[in-house]
Symmetry: D2
Subunit: 378 residues, 4 copies
């Protein structure tokens, strides 16, 4: 693991997600930008001190030198965004598969370069757009892809949060600080951090590519250089329309990612805060609520489920589905076998590049106050 | 009553709303465009045949001639949209106050002309943007206006419906047909019919005026000349941003009008399908759910309430609040007394003109694919 | 109307329910135990002073003397409970149909005597167990009666309220006072006032009769002579089991009447505070939510509906369904025609007697701490 | 681990719960009653074959013989119920702490004997009444124990499930089969399997002991020897009343454990299927919804939380809280240090015995059709 030092949020999530199914064991890391903090975290995690590194460069070199039998099977990258690109590149070049927190990079150019590296090395690259790991999101995709909605007409993807409704970044709050620092987070806050999840989720479920986007960004909290609120209108290839929202100043909202997809024959609604439910809406029949774990769900949803209905699963379990899938695909590659296609169901470098393309198009639209074409979206 | 013949939906609602509190008794009407259909409806409603008229012109003249003591105290206009303007003008000119279904007219120019008529005659003109009659909407406005949210930053007003997800207008469905006929409904469907409610609700609760709007309209069902889906981005005076949505092709949605307002210090959420609840979201305290009828609500909310908490009120009761208010204001005017300010709380001609301005700006923005300023919004 | 003077709650509800559909017009009344208060209320309601009576005895006599053409077509009885029996008897004997608030009487013996009077006079007697007027309750009954649940196995009927969690009756609160006064309310509070609704609802929906009941009553607020909390276990004829709860000290609950019925093949859940929804639960298929106004509902549910789906109806509309039904049945009787069977769907004297039998059995079980047979339940 | 062979449900849950926080590593097991099945499972879990045992007796002996440094630090017992007692006794006597699935035993006598063994050995015994591991259950207890509710008056604890609404035990369904076999499950099904969770939860949150219980049990599915539905009335010491329900034939219900507690000053509602929320109901203020992870929650709730608000946690995380607590207490005992009191917060042998006492009292009350005193409840 690179990153995830003391006080980081997402590092702990990655560790729990990796541990849940026993696919991974944490054996090495470079946990912080300061070597002493890295070692402190390594000790706290009970690691062998020889494999706790002062820097990620050192780690990439040393692990590569250990040879295939002894070195880490994959690296998790959970640093601030600006390091994703150099760290991932270094480990891929060292022959080590990568599981990387999103966004993949901080610029589209970096993302495209990283795609080339992934393609060239032929190694697994998993991007933890973790919300696609929820079983009922996979069921939603199944419903769309098997044609139950008919042609999709309207997509509403929203991600309201309220945690930045005050200037948290001025109070020493570590996560707020780097997320509001363009050098480390990239030149977008609301869109880059959470709008990108909404975009990814909409794409994952519907499979639709975007023709053009129109965006209106604003910093609602005085003194911010990056937007904390974004409204976006979307025209999809084929004619469907979308409304995307991302906001970090929706005071009192927690983590309200939600997706609504309306087709000719059916609509569906999924809300991250009640992830075990998927609502199906019909023009000519009663509403249905599908619940995780039910035997009538798709193979994709069942594959991503650990417990029977009524026994809630949550964020960690969804995250773990990304890890479990990546772990099995990496394992199969090492063993020279075929991975189960249901395990291959995790976001990859192409999703990462698509996301960067979206973010850059949104920023451009906002700056120019006009529709921006994304003809290359794919 | 003008309009509301056999098979009409909104006419029956107006009649129930007017009856609920005993402020009004239905005594006269011109119920349909065909005199025989008007008389049929008059008989069904048990009216004196002498006051069931073949046309609205005839009714306006005859009632005016009856003298102040005997003529109707007010007229309800529940016709298709294109008749609102001539009918309202005729009755106002005859000295009779008007309660008019929304939208006020089908063009901004007509709306402005009608405003002049209302101002000139000095008579009451109530527009049944009925959703503002809900007690918890009034409570929401109270929360905003008393400063509990601090500065408003973000407004999300949405109105998804699914009833036009098929070409209902081709099947002989009376309401669908006229609503998809530009000559009778005006040159907008989703925005004119329901987006205007979302806009009105957002204005009522927040008091914010719109600086500029950007819209993307589409007809998702093939063959339609007017939009059945609309996404709108809004810049409010003072810097707050808004996302408005109106859709008639959100398959399976019933009548999902909802409003979310986020301020510096608090957020609030109201959903029309659960109208007795208002959710308050705080950055630093647990969420609250206010319920209609509670003694700790504002005077405005309590004034609009008939039953204790837990005894659901609905659409008709909210509608009746508009009628009760208008009835008491009209009664006070006839009696030469002052009406209770809590009864004056109903939408009027200024709201109607604001709505027409909004609709025209949205259509213009969509056509030109750019922001349209609404500097005159007020 | 008898009762419903200044400050009464249920009188106003009856008046709105009667007005909503125009089946009834209020023309006469004896509104309070003090003649001056009765006259005050009559004036407030705009009635002809000659038909505002000082006492209900006077009213029964005077109206009877007016003759069939001019007298009231029915009387609404909305007094405290102990007067239901003498007032209903007097009006029935005067040839006037009765719409009576529940419970029918304060003792089973009175109830049986009143049943005899109803049978003897052949007049309509409607008991406003108003919750059976909700469209989705009628749909629930339809689902049971058409066999979709298979054999019913378990019934949970609960009615938690919190309004008596303090000694409201000592504060001058008029409704709390008479409801805690055995002379006026009968010898039961939680069971008599609200448990009887739960019992009625369970019977209405399932059609099941009770073989035996076991009850545990308690006064949780010190100083009360009647119970404010009740737990009841029920054995139905045929083997199904039930749990009934009624509580007036469920602090913070508003009006939480709810019914759950589980059969071999399906379960259903209805909650009064969200009355427009009926949830269907299946062992082998996704959950469904039926919503009021949908075209796929039963004729019984549709008949009781005034608005399309998504336009909430509430307590008054449900209450009005009892009034509309009774009004049409009374009207048909006067006209010598057949009423629509869908209008006959209101609780009557047999339901009232069944309720009194239940209340007395519950009190007996609690006193003796054993199961009490209700073999005569029907 | 003892039990948890191929096809078992709860074994996998225990393994995930133990892995989540890295407190435990699975190193040894006797996974099934047939040695070959045990070895098969050991291989599947990647264990050292020398520590995969054919029987639990063999395992207890062999692990004890390994010495303190190398033997397992604790054993998880996840067998059918009838083995809990002998297996726990054997491991305790071998000096090994126990984490045992509930119920503790199948008879009260066995439970009391096991309590003696625990007391005598002084070893940690944790009982996985896992629902007490939910953070918001801990918050609920905090609210009661700090007096925010005042005196508790009414407790409703219910556990509806529908999975046994057909004769699943006849279809070869492994879990259904042993749970309906008195020799393996004990002489109660609905009460023993899930009613005991409802009882435990009510006790955990309120701290109230039971004076007397009245129960009505029935087998709703023909051919069953044990009850699949139970209604229970409860009198608590101090005068509060309770209604408990447990049902396995509530068709279509998933895992609907819920608790409602009403006190003088406040009520609270928690539902297992939405475990991150705790609803607080007040007589004189708006309802509140507390959400897991919020900084204003009690230390007990925060200690049991891994993620910020809005990132759902579920069943495994709650279960893991029991494991993490037990692991740290066991670790502290081995290290001779003091465990954090917040980690000591897991159910133990006294809770197990209290549960068995409750089950036996319920069976006795049902058989005798009268109240059964539980004076020794504690």
């Amino acid at each position: 693991m690179v990153g995830g030092g003391p006080g980081a949020f997402i590092g702990g999530v990655h560790r729990m997600a990796a541990a849940l199914d026993g696919e991974f064991e944490l054996v090495a890391g470079a946990f912080a930008s300061r070597p002493d903090r890295s070692r402190e975290q390594g000790r706290a995690l009970g690691l062998d001190a020889r494999r706790v590194y002062g820097t990620w460069r050192e780690m990439a070199e040393a692990e590569a030198a250990l040879g295939e039998d002894r070195r880490i099977e994959a690296v998790s990258i959970v640093t601030p965004n600006h390091l994703h690109h150099p760290v991932a590149t270094a480990f891929l070049n060292a022959g080590i598969p990568v599981i990387c927190d999103k966004p993949m990079t901080t610029t589209l150019a970096d993302a495209e370069e990283l795609c080339d590296t992934v393609e060239r090395t032929g190694l697994t690259f998993a991007l933890t757009h973790n919300y696609t790991g929820y079983p009922m999101v996979r069921e939603a995709r199944h419903q769309v892809h098997t044609g139950r909605l008919g042609t999709v007409r309207k997509v509403v993807a929203e991600y309201p949060q309220g945690w930045l409704s005050t200037r948290l970044e001025e109070t020493g709050h570590k996560q707020a600080r780097w997320r509001q620092d363009p050098e480390r987070a990239g030149w977008s806050s609301a869109v880059g951090d959470i709008g990108s999840h909404a975009h990814n989720l909409a794409h994952y479920v519907t499979g639709l590519e975007i023709d053009a986007v129109f965006a209106d960004l604003s910093a609602q909290v005085a003194g911010r250089v990056m937007e904390d609120d974004a409204g976006m209108l979307v025209r999809f290839a084929g004619g469907a329309r979308g409304v995307f929202m991302a906001s970090q100043v929706s005071t009192g909202e927690e983590n309200g990612l939600a997706l609504r997809v309306y087709g000719e024959k059916m609509g569906l609604v999924w809300r991250q805060e009640r992830p075990d439910e998927l609502h199906l809406l019909f023009p000519d029949a009663p509403r249905q609520t599908l619940t995780r774990g039910s035997p009538w769900l798709s193979a994709a949803a069942q594959h991503a489920t650990r417990l029977p209905p009524g026994h809630p699963e949550g964020f960690i379990e969804a995250f773990a589905n990304i890890y479990r899938g990546a772990g099995r695909v990496i394992g199969a590659a090492l063993a020279g076998t075929e991975a189960d296609p249901l395990d291959r169901d995790f976001p990859d470098h192409a999703d990462g590049a698509r996301g960067m393309h979206f973010i850059e198009s949104v920023l451009k639209s906002d700056a120019r106050e006009r529709w921006v074409a994304m003809e290359g979206d794919a």
